[in-house]
Symmetry: C2
Subunit: 355 residues, 2 copies
Amino acid sequence: MLRVGVNGYGTIGKRVADAIRVQPDMEVSGVAKRSPDYVAIGAEEAGFRVYAADEDRIDEFTAAGIDLAGTVDELVADSDVVVDATPSGVGAQNRPLYERHDTPALFQGGEDATVAEVSFNARANYDEAEDADYARVVSCNTTGLSRLVAPLHENYGIEKVRATLVRRGGDPDQTDRGPINDALPDPVSIPSHHGPDVQTVFPELDIDTIGLKVPTTMMHVHTVNVTLENEPDDATDIRERLRSEDRILTIPEYAGIDGAGTLKDFALDAGRPRGDIWENCVWEESITLQGRDLYLMQAIHQEADVVPENVDALRALSGHLTGPESRSLTNETLGIGFSQFAGRDDLTLDRQTAD
Amino acid sequence: MLRVGVNGYGTIGKRVADAIRVQPDMEVSGVAKRSPDYVAIGAEEAGFRVYAADEDRIDEFTAAGIDLAGTVDELVADSDVVVDATPSGVGAQNRPLYERHDTPALFQGGEDATVAEVSFNARANYDEAEDADYARVVSCNTTGLSRLVAPLHENYGIEKVRATLVRRGGDPDQTDRGPINDALPDPVSIPSHHGPDVQTVFPELDIDTIGLKVPTTMMHVHTVNVTLENEPDDATDIRERLRSEDRILTIPEYAGIDGAGTLKDFALDAGRPRGDIWENCVWEESITLQGRDLYLMQAIHQEADVVPENVDALRALSGHLTGPESRSLTNETLGIGFSQFAGRDDLTLDRQTAD
């Protein structure tokens, strides 16, 4: 039983902790939190051992009636491996702590790639993390792009990827984030850092990305152009390949899911914890082929898509399961994949041909 | 076992159907839906018998692979009582259908009060619906105001209520709603219809309301001023009374819940289905007393707060439980009330005094 410490119990950390909890081969040794707010209280209510990430604020936890199990140093000492889900940049500062305890660790995509030996995506390069002590699970956007690139690369070969990332301004609980009425070129320099980040997973891939930020907190939306090396038969061929991917949901036209709002409503109706959508969401109507140029649009749930990747990365580091074994166990335990549209494929074809 | 038909399976209808399903004394005979979209597919996935609300669109359901149990007329015939959760105005058009079948029905707050004999709020006037065949569950905003007015009226007497309702522009799935960057006086005439609507529950109450719409889909936020007849000892006295209300959550300062975004995040962390918040959410720091003038701010989840009221209204119509019995059974079965802040009251006091 792998004992996993979660350092940083925010948007990602709390989700990764819940995901680890339902795995048969790992358990949460505890979670470290900086401030004693409703999220920390939620961790205690959920039955996690709570550790103070900042020794200077222990009194605040006591004042909020939260029983601390200790400090983050003690959490690391009591863990076989640590998932660092602290804010961008803090993870790198924490690495010496993990080294001191000779404890392997996972970092998140907000850190520079140099924080770990390998940048990880379960679908693309699981094996590369098997001998590593430190791995970095790439960001939500890079994860979303990597999941799309992998099957296209394998089946058709990729000449070049061009993508525009229309990014959410902040998460639902980040009430201090903007913009509130703008579409910000962010970063304004081209390519954005996302392309090079995808290259940490696919070193040979030719990819340029452009980023913006818009006033939404729900999901990122990518417009993607992939110039393929070999021309597919038709768009349906692409759609079928994407449909067969375990962490890609293709949205049929008849579903009436027209944006992130309806996607979240759909996920909540489906009983997803926190309404989380772990899968890339590709609109089938957007899958378009012009010769070797493939175009499509996909939505990425920034709070959720890296969660199963973190679980798989833990297994890659500990090396006791292969990538396919780990992915399928993670999918099964979390409940990844939607049954709603299964067996309705023909209808989609009919409808799309009819239109 | 009360057999309840749900006519209109949208934001409210699907939640009411799920709530009825967990009641020991009632069951869902079926749900009627207008269009075969992801929500209709979700109803089928959830195991509800799906009926076509519009006979002209039966082919569309077939095309989407949804097995219809029949038409709405058959649903009404097969139900002891119907919850009409169709869009505003459609409910009134449906009343003849229910009369034709001599079937009692509940309507929603979007209808004029004249659609039914009584306008209903479980906390305020449960008994008045006991002899009715048709009742109207007042709107989310009116429900939120009624829950607040009831205990203040009983404990201190109310001279006058003045409230500004900062309303969400639309629900998360209503991607065609606005405004996207404005604060609209809506209605621009004062008082807004909300005040008179509260008077359908409290005929003697002196209340003026003003309404606006803002670019959010999460919750309504009310700023409320209540001039009490009898001056309370202090704001803490008010807070304790509100805390003792079963469908009011008072938010302590230390929770760090600063708006609707954090409230929804809190509810999702707590495992609430669809992140629903059935309770009024009153910020404790906002509870302020100036002589007999009470001021406070509360958030109302427009998708959820009327759901338990619909369940209680069904029992009031069937008349087999008293108001307190029904409310407590509904609270227990749905899981209304949060344990997160229980037993931390003293801390709140300390913290608030300290600040």
